[in-house]
Amino acid sequence: MKEEHFQKQIDTEQKIEPKDWMPEQYRKHLIRQISQHAHSEVIGMQPEGNWITRAPSLRAKMILLAKVQDEAGHGLYLYSACETLGISREKLVQQLHDEKAKYSSIFNYPTLTWADMGAIGWLVDGAAIINQVSLQRTSYGPYSRAMIKICKEESFHQRQGYEIMAEMAKGTPEQKTMAQDALNRFWWPSIMMFGPQDSESPRTGNAMKWKIKRQTNDELRQSFIDKTVGQAEIIGLKIPDPDLKWNEERKHYDFGEMDWEEFWNVVNGNGPCNKQRLAHHKKAHDEGEWVRNAAQEYAKKQESATN
């Protein structure tokens, strides 16, 4: 009965709210997905944070810092959305540190030049938006509302990233080389952000039935590629895929095979920065412990003084 009522709510596009009954599997799926999303925002601060102190102009510095700060803010909304499912932020962070929770693999690639700030904004935020626009219609109310808020800021980030790429692509020969190199390095990891192919994605079934996901990995990936090809052409950069070409029949771009071995390696912890990203997060967390303890202790003293 409960299950039927729940499915009816989903089928008639009514949002599921924290106090509504939901199947345990639905709750689990959401905790996994939302926390992974929150962790991605927070770990994603690192590759861009790597260039804040070296941004080449006052304006670039402010834009980048504001962007990374937005990501921290997204992390906060998402942790809060996740907490409505009955799990604490502390526990979620613990799962991250224990490597039980994942974050987007894209952040396990290093940012080597300033052009990477452009490539991340343009491609990584671009891919994230495609996914997040779709998630605005997700069935869980708090997640859907967080996505609506986040999407507004992400599209701004994508434009700023594209602007960096465009500026560099028309700059000095060295800048153009940097821009092309960043595209070469970030292209494949970006299209892998949509996850494994539908035929290999074990969780798509229920997620679609419960409308947690509204479109499949392959549909989203195709939509991203179709959008991005033209943007690269406009600024005179070449997408590093020899098999990329317009398919008139499908009305979509065909594209080459992704390196799935690399994909699974990075997902499973064997990417160029997996260990560093996690170590950085743990270090900040550990070094902040005495501060959190002090704040707690102070709050306790204040409380007992007013009682």
């Binding site: 080449p56 810092l65 990374v68 803010g73 700059g171 412990e289 005495w290 501060v291 202790e297």
Partner: protein, 248 residues
Amino acid sequence: MNSLIQYTLRIADSSLILGQRMSQWCSNGPTLEEDIAMSNIALDLFGQANGFYEYAAQLDGSRSADELAFKRNEREFFNHQLSEQENGNFGTTTVRNFLHDAFNFLFYTELASSKDETLAALSAKSLKEVKYHLRHSSNWLIRLGDGTQESNMKVQESLNFLWQYTGELFEMDEIDNEMLDEGAGVDNNKLRKGWDEIINSTIEKAKLTRPVDGYMANGSKKGIHTEHLGFLLAEMQFLPRAYPDAKW
């Protein structure tokens, strides 16, 4: 270089360098909320720096705001030595900023009534932000000072160390005096009383001890700095220096 440009650059430099330090906290904060707060402060400081550099550039006529920030060397920077001190632990940053924020609050309050309209307007705008910065750093100083024994010891240690950089905040040189005479600048000596009041009352609430005055560093008005500034600039200025023809 005329006095007004020099005076404006000093203000801009302190904001930029402290902003640069604060931006180093990004992704390293003790909580996500605090990470966001520190980025916010850094953004305010960069915005302030940008405003004062734009004014200096306009007066100078030959260099842009970005050139002033990215193309001058260590000995041509005039930020307070306090602002360039390393972040250390979160308590060190709290103490450094608190000492600086208290000064800035009083300084901008005075400069907001400068006869130079641009300096006055930039100061009034900065003052709104600095009030928040001071509240943030004082609250944390109290929380850490009156938190655990460990946190109390840590901030006391930072306070003892950083105290040597507070003396030069109040110094007056020929440029300050000229600006003061024209009704455009601030009498830094006069700020000391207000500063002492803020420092003493907050230190008391934080259950800390005010350090005894000992060696006091000075010289930033003449471009004399601690050894940290060179590294900070090398990192910050790397791209515009390595690719002088590039626009970003």
